[in-house]
């Protein structure tokens, strides 16, 4: 039985490469484009962060300017209550008594409630 032999002149070259057209631009262009886009985005983000910092500074200073006024009002109210407390104590106990063994001001734990409703 005769053996199968290659055709005369050899086989055709085997086509192993795909024969599809490459779509779009070269990949490096896409890479460049995305890089530029991201750079611009981070630049804008940085600008936003700086503006945010300035806004925070503005807010802080607006509060700093108000703090002394608010604190003064609160302190006056504290003093008013303290003096009223002392006057009431003197009226009720007939003298000033030191409750604590120190000169430091201690915020009173207990309050004397008025006889009739004040507010």
């Amino acid at each position: 039985m005769p053996q199968d032999m290659p055709p005369a002149g050899g086989y055709e070259p085997v086509q192993y490469k795909r024969n599809l057209p490459a779509r779009g631009f070269r990949p490096s262009y896409y890479f460049l484009g995305v890089t530029l886009l991201c750079t611009w985005g981070f630049y804008e983000f940085g600008k936003g962060v700086r503006e945010h910092n300035e806004l925070a500074r503005e807010k802080m200073w607006s509060r700093i300017h108000l703090i002394p006024m608010l604190q003064a009002e609160e302190d006056r109210d504290q003093v008013r209550r303290h003096l009223a407390d002392k006057a009431r104590e003197k009226e009720l106990l007939g003298g000033e008594f030191k409750v604590y063994h120190s000169d430091r001001f201690v915020r009173p734990t207990f309050a004397a409630t008025p006889k009739d409703v004040t507010k």
Partner: protein, 152 residues
């Protein structure tokens, strides 16, 4: 422990005893948060010496000094009232527009630039009080005068 606020269930009990007569009387400011915030930089511009005095007094008293700093505190309050009175007298419409805007925008100043610019201009023209934000980087427009801002 000692800082706990007393609570009563029956009714609100507030001690209404006024200060003794030997303490000079001073009217309280009585403005709510939005007008105060709107006027804060003008208060800071006019009252800086008084504010600094008061805060220094408080610092010298180790953060207490309620009794010692009453004199400085009265000056601070009077100065703040004078600023608010002047703004009310000369720039009432702009002031009102700005603080209402603040009230409606969660007290975010960056949302109220459009009404803030007329207020700043009016106060600067009539009262010579300028809004400056200390610590702004050199060579950069302060954030309230920027032409184009991201947060707008």
């Amino acid at each position: 422990m000692s800082a706990r606020q007393p609570r009563f269930n029956q009714q609100v009990l507030i001690d209404t005893t006024p200060l003794p007569d030997d303490v000079p009387k001073v009217q309280e400011v009585g403005a709510s948060s939005a007008p105060l915030m709107s006027a804060s930089f003008f208060i800071g511009a006019r009252c800086k010496p008084y504010n600094d005095d008061y805060m220094m007094c408080k610092t010298d008293a180790n953060g207490r000094g309620e009794l010692e700093c009453m004199r400085e505190g009265r000056k601070v309050t009077r100065c703040a009232i004078s600023v608010l009175d002047d703004i009310n007298k000369h720039c009432l419409d702009e002031f009102r527009a700005h603080w209402k805007c603040l009230e409606n925008n969660n007290q975010q100043m960056w949302k109220c630039r459009l009404v803030e610019h007329p207020l700043n201009k009016c106060v600067f023209d009539k009262l010579k009080l300028e809004k400056t934000i200390p610590g702004t980087p050199e060579g950069q427009a302060p954030v309230h005068t920027k032409k184009r801002s991201i947060y707008m």
